[in-house]
């Protein structure tokens, strides 16, 4: 999903913008960042300096960078790389895993408390949540009880905390 965000405007890039606005908590996984780096640099030709800028931007936005669990990931999705990403999402205790992968991840819908949704679906959820906006400054606050907790971990039951899956367009 993050690959799409860095090459075109659309739902994936809007997810990143929502994270910038503090409306969701971004949790990234090491294997996701590894794949993102390979695709942007090897497949798309990002130079080293630009990759460092991508990494710095995402690191600044992310509340947490999750490493894979020590034990092997359960074979759940039919793709070991997606299994690893899913294991990271479970390990991090995120509410939502955002993905465009209609073959392996999205069909699961939910796995061990993690909902797997498309960028479009998450945007629809966020759009349904009221928010206060200041005029002119681009400053937004969550409605209570989220006010003032823009980059902290929010309750799983009420607020999406996406773990970005770079691997599929959404």
């Amino acid at each position: 999903m993050l690959v799409s965000a860095f090459i075109a405007a659309g739902p994936p890039s809007r997810i990143v913008e929502e994270a910038i606005d503090g409306r969701l908590e971004l949790v990234l996984a090491v294997p996701v960042m590894d794949e993102l780096q390979r695709i942007l640099t090897v497949k798309l030709g990002f130079d080293a300096e630009r990759w460092e800028e991508v990494e710095a931007l995402l690191s600044g936005l992310a509340a947490e960078l999750v490493s894979p669990p020590a034990e092997p990931a359960d074979p759940v999705t039919g793709d070991p790389d997606d299994d690893l990403i899913l294991a990271c999402a479970v390990e991090a205790g995120v509410a939502v895993l955002v993905s465009g992968d209609r073959e392996h991840l999205l069909p699961l819908a939910t796995h061990r408390g993690v909902r797997i949704v498309t960028p479009q679906a998450l945007l629809a959820e966020l759009g349904g949540r009221p928010r206060a906006e200041s005029g002119g400054g681009g400053i937004r606050t969550h409605e209570p009880p989220y006010e003032g907790q823009q980059f902290s971990r929010l309750p799983r039951s009420t607020t999406p905390a996406p773990l970005q899956d770079t691997s599929r367009d959404g």
């Binding site: 659309g10 990143v16 910038i20 606005d21 695709i39 030709g45 630009r50």
Partner: protein, 78 residues
């Protein structure tokens, strides 16, 4: 480390910042810092996306093809 930056703001914007700071329980400096940080992230992201779009166009790759890129990458590793 921090530096003091003096910025001139119109009255209406200053009043809005005051009101927002009060409602959030933050200082005005915190509100302005948050807004600037966010704006810089927006601009950085937009610049990286422009760069990425150019690289993708050079290679004839559209956003709908990122799934195939992932598949290629993973297939090459296995």
């Amino acid at each position: 480390m921090s530096r003091l930056l003096s910025v001139s703001l119109p009255d209406d914007l200053t009043e809005e910042i005051d009101a927002l700071a009060q409602s959030l329980g933050k200082t005005k400096s915190e509100v302005v810092r948050d807004a600037l940080r966010r704006q810089l992230q927006v601009e950085r992201f937009a610049a990286l996306q422009r760069y990425g779009r150019e690289r993708a166009e050079e290679r004839g790759i559209g956003p709908e093809e990122t799934e195939a890129l992932i598949d290629d990458l993973r297939a090459g590793r296995r």
